[in-house]
């Protein structure tokens, strides 16, 4: 996984015609892929709206926005992880750990804030575990999280002893039921988190460190950046967001099981990549990530309303990922640099 070399910069140096220069800038733009994905999804929305009357109903978008918010939170954490040059295969397992922790806490009839705090700290602890191994001990992210994914799945099963929990207090289920002028609170929480993430990424030193570490870890270390601390915080944040997702999932499904986060990890990686972020790291955009995750859920929902068989929906969303990444690569024309 190499870093993209400044092919576009060389173009600025030459005295190429203005149109070609502009095209070069557009092709190298990080907004290209999320832009194209947004356009494609908008066309798709118009088509589905024409074919199915239910698509533009408020209820459809309410139901759509809740799973979108859950996957979106994990995706934002994953965006920081991928931007820092890593990957987190254990995200889904952490969601499971947080969910069953909330289940056990509710089982012991703790108060709602205590349940939420327990789930969040369980997520944070799992993320910190990854962060120590990857940041401090400098182990490979994909290998550590592969191991910790299996480990956390076992921990979640151990905490829940393999059973599922129900009977959650109404205060916790509030997360699912409450709406603010028609918009589910869950979705608003996701938007707020996205805004905070954008500020962290663009306007704080830590955001700068994350991108620097992802672009070139050695250069970052030689520049005196706190690489270990930056990476630790990246994985701890991912753990915290997975914990939050666990709470929201428990609230929506009114039950908690160890395998609840299954599928969220792959969805999050796919969403970040669909937004155009290079899997090798060094670049990130919150808007692009939100576009990526929204595209997946809107397309899936649209296909459902078009009566496409469920398994074909699954296959088509995978095709969407492959096609958009391939076109992004070909348009940018920097394939030579990406191995």
């Amino acid at each position: 996984m190499t870093l993209s070399s400044p092919a576009s910069l060389e173009k600025f140096g030459s005295s190429a015609p203005k149109f070609a220069e502009r095209m070069g800038v557009l092709r190298a733009s990080p907004h290209l892929q999320p832009g194209v994905v947004t356009l494609l999804v908008l066309f798709f929305c118009v088509y589905v709206g024409y074919r199915s009357g239910d698509f533009w109903s408020a209820l459809n978008w309410q139901l759509l926005s809740q799973p979108l918010a859950e996957a979106g939170l994990v995706s934002i954490g994953m965006m920081f992880v991928i931007a820092s040059g890593g990957i987190d295969l254990s995200a889904g397992a952490i969601v499971g750990v947080a969910a069953v922790t909330a289940g056990v806490a509710a089982h012991h009839s703790l108060s709602v804030p205590a349940i939420e705090a327990a789930a969040l700290s369980a997520g944070l602890l799992c993320g910190a575990f990854n962060g120590v191994l990857i940041g401090v001990f400098r182990l490979s992210a994909i290998l550590v999280t592969l191991g910790s994914m299996i480990l956390f799945t076992g921990v979640a099963l151990a905490i829940s002893t393999g059973s599922s929990f129900s009977d959650f207090p109404n205060g916790l289920l509030w997360w699912n039921d409450a709406t603010l002028s028609g918009v589910p609170v869950e979705f608003l929480l996701f938007l707020a988190t996205a805004a905070v993430a954008a500020i962290l990424l663009r306007y704080t030193l830590w955001g700068h460190y994350v991108i620097a570490v992802g672009s070139n870890r050695v250069a970052a270390r030689y520049s005196g950046y706190p690489v270990a601390l930056t990476l630790f915080c990246v994985y701890a944040l991912q753990g915290l967001l997975c914990g939050l997702t666990g709470i929201l999932l428990v609230a929506r499904l009114a039950s908690a099981r160890a395998d609840m986060g299954q599928g969220l990890m792959l969805m999050a990686i796919a969403a970040v990549v669909l937004g155009g972020a290079p899997i090798a790291g060094g670049s990130a955009s919150v808007i692009a990530t939100v576009v990526g995750v929204a595209a997946f859920y809107i397309v899936q929902d649209g296909l459902l309303l078009l009566d496409v068989p469920p398994f074909i929906q699954h296959a088509l969303t995978s095709v969407l990922l492959l096609v958009s990444v391939a076109t992004g690569n070909l348009l940018r024309g920097n394939g030579e640099d990406r191995q």
Binding site: L143, G147, M149, G154, G162, I269, A270, H314, N329
Partner: protein
């Protein structure tokens, strides 16, 4: 008194990952000899060998892919597709001599799809195989409509039934696959090219190795070996369905990585992979024998993978600091 030969050999091999793995295996063996002597009964050892067959065959393919600097998370989906193809065609009355080549061809073709996405469209391996995993699995589930194929043809059943003192054909096949892979990886041009390409694609290109050849070889060989594994997978289970082998690719990657293969490519060995598979399988078998709850099996497997990662990284931590990522990719 140690002979000088042994001490030189020890000094030369002491820091090899395989030596550490062997020590780990020895520790596990001693612990088992005390806690569960039944583990070493011939019946149990035969069971262990049978459980290793499929994993070892697919792991050799995954080793090729990881040596090339890539990764393949669609192996589980390919395994499911091929095993359903084999059983469905077999149940339709096609003979074994027609079904087996078709199954192997399916596996190789799906591997070629991955390779084409990576080599021609230049999609990063993890993204490409993430996409094809969803694609293959989705199409397979649409084809089977989620139903079980609960009976398998007689010839396939015969393949999976134990003979030769509890061993079945999968053990023989795994041995043949490892021998063939050893020859290809170390004695042929394409095998050496795989190592060099994985170590540094740029340097490999300078020495005249195209990027297509190693990529196609790695992913097609994984597809083919996954298909071989699927034959024994279906034969041993006696029933297949579209959701079969969900997440199997992660077990395979864990085994190869535990065997000391470098996820950045270019370094890894068949001996290490064999030890990795042996360690994972004997740990699982031992925990079953000791009547340990499932979640402890997960925790122990995860812990052993992390130990393997730490063991294999320890001597290279300095290297990782000095070399920029782009130089070792």
């Amino acid at each position: 008194m140690k002979s000088p030969g042994i001490s030189t050999w020890l000094r030369a091999n002491f820091h090899r990952h395989e030596t550490k793995l062997a020590a780990l295996l020895l520790l596990l063996g001693i612990a088992l000899a005390i806690a569960a002597p039944r583990f070493f009964s011939s019946v149990n050892l035969a069971l262990l060998a049978r459980s290793m067959g499929v994993l070892l065959i697919v792991s050799v393919g995954m080793l090729n892919v990881i040596l090339s600097g890539g990764i393949d998370v669609s192996a589980g989906a390919i395994l499911a597709v091929v095993s359903v193809v084999l059983v469905r065609l077999g149940n339709h009355g096609l003979s074994a001599s027609a079904v087996l080549p078709l199954g192997l061809l399916t596996g190789a073709a799906l591997g070629a799809v991955n390779a084409a996405l990576i080599a021609e469209l230049r999609i990063p391996p993890i993204v490409a195989t993430l996409g094809t995993a969803g694609l293959f699995r989705g199409l397979l589930l649409e084809w089977t409509q989620g139903e079980w194929e609960s009976s398998i043809p007689g010839w396939l059943n015969a393949v999976g039934s134990p003979r030769w003192g509890g061993l079945d054909a999968s053990v023989l096949a795994a041995a043949l696959v490892v021998l063939a892979a050893a020859w290809i990886l170390h004695r042929t041009q394409i095998g050496r090219a795989l190592f060099r390409f994985g170590d540094s694609p740029v340097a490999a290109a300078r020495t005249g190795i195209s990027r297509r050849q190693p990529i196609y070889f790695a992913y097609v060989s994984l597809g083919l070996l996954t298909a071989v594994g699927a034959v024994f997978y279906a034969a041993q289970l006696g029933a297949v369905q579209g959701n079969a082998a969900n997440g199997y690719e992660l077990t395979v990657i864990a085994a190869v990585v535990l065997g000391g293969a470098d996820i950045l490519g270019g370094r890894g060995s068949l001996v290490g992979t064999f030890f990795g598979v042996l360690l994972l399988c004997s740990l699982q078998q031992a925990l079953v024998l000791l009547h340990v709850a499932t979640f402890w099996q997960n925790i122990a497997t995860g812990a052993i993978v992390l130990v393997g990662v730490i063991l294999s990284a320890a001597p290279h931590i300095r290297r990782r600091v000095v070399l920029p990522q782009s130089a070792s990719a």
